[in-house]
């Protein structure tokens, strides 16, 4: 979804502009409804025992710990989808200027590095 264009100073063009923004408003409402629906889905999925489900479908043994990890993975996937919707539509990142993308690429790199350091600290072969 593109951002509404900058408003025209010409009153004659204003009505057309307002109509264009109105179309975006419908999109915002739909995304809001989608986010609410996925909140309900997140809650519902957290009560599904994925370990038992995988075990019954594929006839493999899944420990409670592995099942819990699957639940975490599923919940994070849904959360990332919701966060993507907020960022792309509400924060207009679906169509933004290149400079902002550059800032975010740097941010993403450093956040990744931060989590990588956390992983290294946890997986310390000296103390483990």
């Amino acid at each position: 979804m593109n951002n509404p264009p900058d408003i025209s100073q010409d009153p004659a063009e204003h009505e057309e502009y307002a109509h264009n923004v109105q179309k975006h408003v419908r999109g915002y409402l739909m995304v809001g409804a989608l986010l609410l629906a996925f909140t309900a889905i997140t809650v519902a999925l957290s009560y599904v025992d994925f370990g038992a489900l995988i075990s019954s479908i594929f006839h493999v043994s899944v420990s409670p710990g592995q099942g819990a990890k699957t639940n975490i993975g599923v919940a994070m996937l849904v959360a990332m989808f919701k966060a993507g919707c907020v960022a792309a539509i509400f924060m207009h990142l679906a169509a933004e200027k290149r400079l902002i993308y550059r800032v975010l690429i740097f941010t993403g790199f450093f956040v990744f590095a931060l989590f990588w350091l956390t992983f290294l600290a946890w997986y310390n072969p000296i103390t483990r």
Binding site: P4, A18, Y28, T39, Y47, M91, V103, V111, L114, A121
Partner: protein, 291 residues
Amino acid sequence: MEIPYTISTRPDTGLWNAKIGIWLFLASEVMLFGGLFSAYVFLRLDAQPGEWPHGLLNVPVGTMNTAILIMSSVTVVLAWAALKMRRYRAYWWYMLATIVCGIIFLFVKLYYEWPQKFEHYGLFIKSSALEKYEQYLGNNRRTEKGMEPRIEISGHLHNPEALKDPNIKEYEIGLDPVFVDPNNPANDRPHFLYVPPTDQIAKIEKEDVERIDSFGPWHSAYFASYFTITGLHGAHVLAGVLVFIYMWLPVSKKLYQRNPEHLANRVEVSGLFWHFVDLVWIFVFPLFYLL
């Protein structure tokens, strides 16, 4: 002197200045919350079996607060769109709705969720005494099933004076439902609806207790990260609400009459901050309430 590029875009960046400013600020915010979330991951990965609690938060209330924050994200973007369409009245109402949503979110957190935690107690049982309280813990069955053991008995403390009085030799605790029927498979996973502590009182000898704490930040790594992250998030909600109140007051109408696009840009910048706050909560909610 007038601040340049508040409305028009800079030729080199193609953006008005405040927009770059807010994105740089949000980048620093990503690092701030990223650090806290990585600490959460670290603490959770290193938690010993039974030390990372589940199902201690009120899921329906958390779900409601999530929905409120999502609705406020919608209303703030509608407020901005209303300004772009030069409909000040609609803007005023959408902004009021956003402020109300933010206040409800904070109210629920500060006056309902947090205080409830400080009145709830957990008794960590010494490993040598776990067998003695098997009727409340149900660890034999859990071990058979390959599940993490229960090392804590929680509920409402009926004799808080025992915390300070060394002459009282045992704690009397109104058990949480899970400890009344610990071998019921229905209690293996957290319940959706909050169930208050029962009337069944367990007497736990002090000498069998490693430590007793209310569900405050001092209780465990889980509650330390819960209060830190939700506290910082709550501070962001408060900041957002204060900014929105300023932009909802009559002073905003004066700016609107002078230059409506300037007000629209201000709302866009503060809206970006608000969406970020919503985005953080999208991860906080499942990590603390559901998983």
